[in-house]
């Protein structure tokens, strides 16, 4: 048996390359959107929670707990199959984007909140004493420090959740896994699956190295 021919058949690679490249782009742009909106939403929620209003904090904590405790795949299936019975029909990629954004936001909120509560009170007071408003202290003094101390965690969590774009295959998003899966079924070859694994390596291996660099760079910085 020719191992290479099964997992890396040149003809099959050539046939499915264009589809695979398109799928890689889908994976990349959904990931980028998720990371941008997840970080922004998570930071925003942590900021809201800093106002120390119970009616604001409770829903945020509940949201963060649920999103961290539930498997994203379960959430996706509930939205994808459940919402239509309420007359709300979301496209497959939007369900993927929405769920991953919410999950990332939940983790980011917790990461920021832990830092927000642990910064010395004096940082808040020094800002207030110089006439900065609460919002100005939050934006100019507290958040920059929270970002700095948490860069490794934020990078790692963003990467982990970006890889969950693979779950899109379950609801039919034309990303890497789903394209590879149907290509494998059509061609009767394992090669498209190998191509998918290699595609992820090309995207995320450099990202892993980057996260190592970031970790070493920022680890002893505070």
């Amino acid at each position: 048996m020719d191992f290479g021919n099964v997992f890396l058949n040149p003809e099959i690679i050539a046939t499915y390359m264009p589809q695979m490249v398109r799928a890689v782009w889908v994976t990349i742009w959904i990931s980028v959107l998720v990371v941008i909106s997840g970080l922004a939403l998570g930071a925003f929620l942590a900021g809201l929670r800093a106002y120390q209003k119970r009616w604001l904090a409770w829903p945020i904590v509940l949201f963060a707990d649920l999103m961290r405790a539930l498997p994203p795949l379960v959430l996706m299936l509930i939205l994808f199959f459940g919402l239509p019975s309420l007359g709300v029909i979301l496209s497959d990629w939007f369900v993927l984007y929405l769920v991953l954004t919410l999950v990332l936001a939940a983790f980011v909120e917790e990461i920021f909140w832990a830092t927000l509560t642990s910064l010395p009170r004096g940082q808040w007071e020094a800002g207030a004493a110089t006439g900065l408003s609460f919002n100005q202290v939050l934006v100019n003094v507290i958040f920059p420090q929270a970002v700095r101390t948490n860069i490794p965690q934020l990078v790692n969590r963003s990467l982990t959740i970006s890889k969950m774009t693979a779950y899109g295959s379950v609801i039919g998003v034309k990303e890497i896994v789903s394209v590879a899966g149907s290509a494998q079924a059509f061609s009767g070859s394992a090669t498209p699956l190998t191509m998918a694994a290699i595609a992820y390596l090309i995207i995320f291996f450099p990202a892993m190295l980057l996260s190592r660099y970031v970790e070493n760079r920022f680890h002893y910085d505070h």
């Binding site: 405790a69 498997p71 795949l73 509930i78 199959f81 917790e110 896994v177 390596l201 995320f204 892993m208």
Partner: protein
Amino acid sequence: MDTIINAFFNIDIMRQAAPLLLKGAWVTLQLCAVVIILGISGGLALGLLASSKNAAVRLPAFVFIDVFRAIPPLILLILIYAGLPFIGIRVPPFVAVCIAFLLNNSAYFAEIFRSGIKSVARGQTEAARATGLSPAQTQAYVILPQAVRNVLPDLLSNVVEIVKLTSIASVVSLTELLYSANMARAVTYNSSPLVMAALMYLVVLWPLVRVISRFQRGLSISS
């Protein structure tokens, strides 16, 4: 309101689906037990290799860790389950999941153990060696206990991630919790079984998530 209750919290349908879901939950539980033990053992071994002073040992460990952290576990699982039969190896879903999880989880656990080992002061090794402990004894009795304590929150949160991750086994038709719930949904044309599965995950994972939050806050205050 009624439509929402009917579509997501339909008690009749949940009652019908309950036996199937409980069976699925039992499979998920067994799966968790196996893959967590495999992942921690593999991760510990790999983490020790990655902490080695010898670059010839350390570098391959790093490559393994980064490769399997870069590949989504779902594609790994499909590659094993659907790919291996092409070279004549047919593995049942449960075994395929175990192999995929071993590769993926070991990499993640290894990274946690490695950072834990790195967090233990150098002087600890020297002190232990100076009292005549062998390198292996030093690791086992002095370094690892401290390392594990330092990364306990990370270990716990990785366990939570793994429990959630077992839901991808539904993709290769392993009849675990999510697969059973999704099957019940398809049969009843109603999403309540999925909500029920979500609640079952919550019962186990919510308390853990709370504990992790507590941990994180305590940790960042002390540091």
